[in-house]
């Protein structure tokens, strides 16, 4: 019997270790796995590479990851901390303890999709003519200059959905989906915290992510606004 439910946060993150690459779903707080980020911050894992649209949310919910210098590299479209003074991630960016692959958000999303889809690289016109394209391979297609972007994959993906079933099928509320489906597909071990693990199996019309992309699910309450 297929059963991807795990009993607790220890099981949810079992196997997560030094040097791994971890993706984080979420945009504007929707789809962000707050419980899993906090649990990750409580682990000793170090030398991590993180792939997250915004670095800020990791700093908000897992400050120990930065304080203990356990993140060595980040891939993100935004690496700006809250407020006008430097956050800890910005200090580490400045002093070189943290390196950054800053990506246009569309290239970021497409690189993740490519990672789950077995596409090792693709060309896109986005960023051509900007410093972000520096050092990237350029090539013209149909009169339009493009850069080569490579796929992103991960050892773990940590994300949140609204509902799941024992197959790992996921249902998103509102805009929870954002990077979730593609990060789930791009990862060796996708762990999803959900508001509800349903009895039985989700109806076809409600399945936004087929369970094949998900390894572990855990039911945990929404702690935002609490």
């Amino acid at each position: 019997m297929i059963d991807k439910r795990v009993a607790n946060l220890d099981e949810a993150l079992a196997g997560l270790g030094d040097g791994m690459t971890i993706m984080f779903g979420g945009f504007g707080g929707a789809g962000l796995a707050i419980h899993l980020i906090k649990a990750l911050a409580a682990l000793p894992a170090k030398d991590l590479t993180v792939v997250s649209n915004s670095v800020r949310f990791l700093e908000d919910f897992g400050p120990a990851l930065f304080e203990d210098k356990r993140i060595k590299h980040a891939v993100a479209s935004a690496a700006r901390s809250r407020g006008s003074v430097s956050g800890i991630s910005e200090i580490q960016l400045a002093d070189g303890t943290l390196t950054l692959d800053i990506a246009p958000q569309g290239s970021f999303a497409e690189r993740i999709r490519a990672g789950g889809a077995g596409i090792p690289a693709f060309y896109t016109p986005t960023s051509v003519g900007t410093p972000v394209a520096d050092g990237k391979e350029h090539r013209e297609f149909n009169g339009r200059m493009c850069v080569l972007e490579t796929a992103l994959t991960s050892d773990f993906t940590l994300m949140r959905a609204d509902k799941a079933d024992r197959y790992g099928n996921l249902y998103f509320r509102g805009t929870q989906g954002n990077f979730g489906r593609d990060m789930a597909a791009a990862s060796k071990c996708t762990v999803v915290e959900v508001r509800e693990i349903v009895e039985g199996l989700l109806p076809q019309a409600d399945i936004h992510v087929p369970g094949v992309f998900v390894k572990r699910i855990i039911q945990l309450p929404d702690v935002r606004g609490a």
Binding site: A78, S86, I102, Q105, G106, S107, T130, N178
Partner: protein, 225 residues
């Protein structure tokens, strides 16, 4: 002669008047999102948000607030009837694939060839934030910029060449400022509307590149919004 620059809301009002029935429009953070409040009655304008929404409605009231329904600026939003939700990758496929009619974006600087700089103002100690700007500037059929005509210290934002890092080269079609509406053409900046009471010399003095004027150059005005 005296003049009264448009307020942020008035700039948004003016930009919104150019949104036509049926257009698919992406509004950037800051001033652009204010345009949603000023779309002329009777026009169906579909607002896209790059986190994966087509058909963004008004910002949620306290009663409507849902932490799982946000726009790309992390505002809690409502949806209009007929709205759809999709993944970020699909959203940027929509943007990159040329399916957005107009994007309205904030800007730091625009060059007379249409170069846009709006993502990195070299703030000391602050990290970079690209977000969706590069994809929107590159992918949308039309790129329209909303910004103050000059910086706080009075420096020009309309320039011969941008000083800040580019968002995308030669992408801007139109600029809405507190002083004028300016098109970017093969001949450079062409003023379409100039604020009542502002002289052409004064506007030129606040600009870092030569301004031309449309034959039918009009008066920029906006209601008190």
């Amino acid at each position: 002669m005296s003049f009264k620059p448009l307020s942020r809301n008035q700039i948004a009002w003016r930009a919104a008047q150019d949104l036509q029935d049926g257009m698919v429009v992406n509004l950037g953070l800051g001033m652009p999102v204010l345009c949603a409040n000023y779309c002329p009655e009777g026009r169906e304008v579909l607002l896209q948000s790059e986190n994966g929404v087509l058909g963004v409605g008004p910002v949620a009231t306290k009663e409507e607030e849902d932490l799982d329904q946000t726009d790309a600026g992390s505002q809690l939003i409502t949806l209009i009837p007929g709205a759809s939700i999709f993944s970020s990758a699909d959203s940027f496929a929509m943007i990159r694939g040329g399916h957005i009619d107009v994007t309205l974006l904030g800007g730091f600087e625009v060059a007379e060839n249409g170069d846009l700089a709006n993502w990195d103002a070299d703030m000391p100690g602050k990290g970079p934030l690209i977000g969706g700007a590069m994809d929107l500037a590159e992918g949308a059929k039309e790129v329209r910029i909303m910004m103050q005509h000059t910086t706080r210290d009075g420096s020009a934002r309309l320039l011969k060449a941008c000083n800040y890092k580019l968002t995308a080269p030669a992408c801007v079609n139109r600029i809405y400022t507190d002083l004028a509406v300016i098109d970017v053409t093969p001949e450079g900046f062409v003023v379409r509307e100039i604020l009542d009471g502002l002289s052409r010399d004064e506007l030129q003095a606040k600009s870092g590149a030569a301004l031309r004027y449309a034959d039918d150059c009009g008066v920029l005005s906006a209601p008190d919004v």
